[in-house]
Symmetry: C2
Subunit: 149 residues, 2 copies
Amino acid sequence: MTITDAAARRLDDPAELADPADPGVCDAPPVCDAETSEARIVRDLLSRVGDKWSLLVIRMLHEHAMRFTELQRSIDGISHRMLTQTLRNLERDGLVSRTSYPEIPPRVEYAATDLGRSLALPVLGLVEWASANHASITNARDAFDAARD
Amino acid sequence: MTITDAAARRLDDPAELADPADPGVCDAPPVCDAETSEARIVRDLLSRVGDKWSLLVIRMLHEHAMRFTELQRSIDGISHRMLTQTLRNLERDGLVSRTSYPEIPPRVEYAATDLGRSLALPVLGLVEWASANHASITNARDAFDAARD
DNA sequence: CTGTATCCGACTAGATACTG
DNA sequence: CAGTATCTAGTCGGATACAG
């Protein structure tokens, strides 16, 4: 869903979003066309921020700007490599800004852009839903597991 | 992010959500505790519906109940195997209901549950954000790529 | 401190073939 | 039609080492 090492080095493949198998036409009946483009948008968004760390980084930076190591300490479990990669891609998508101060030792500050902060709002909707329905899902899951003996 | 074949067969590992490396305490200062539990909820939700197909299935079933093959034809590019697996997990989480009619040939109808339909609302928020800001992201990306020569 | 490169195990998901 | 099992290439992401 996210990024390959190769793509990260090249900062993603420009042709990534084009589905080579998609004929561009649709023979199934109704919702298809709207659904197809909408589906691409959803998948596209999820490809960007639906990975393991992006939303967490955005939420951290939503409060205030932070330095690299500060972020790494705040986000439990993220590796050095993944933080770099996540930040680089968020920066590339205009969701996060990077400011480097040419000092010794080097200092780099990351902050959410307006775009990044606007993304936090709909994300909060999801978070609320998750909080409210977490128990329901767990219960459904337990019931399902119990039912299959 | 989603499910392993092994987990799909066993329908997921009950211990999946416990992070074995998480000591349960936190030595970084402020937002940590709230952020840690919130982070788990976000990641948890994304693990369930943030995969390649779940949201698309939920959106299809949000309109009306559908049969297996009907779904497969409506969702462009989904494989037989992935549709089965996605439906099974959505059913397990109580987001989708499955009704089997013992006829020949067999007929099985899938429908969104109330829980599944309630999830569609916050998801719509994300879809709208994605639609509204898709161009901004693409532009930012192009500019970033152009800037690195 | 910040960033990059390499290695490598683990997981994802498509293709395919087979059952009732 | 609906579902399961197996094989496999491609991808994700952690550990590690190293450079500015």
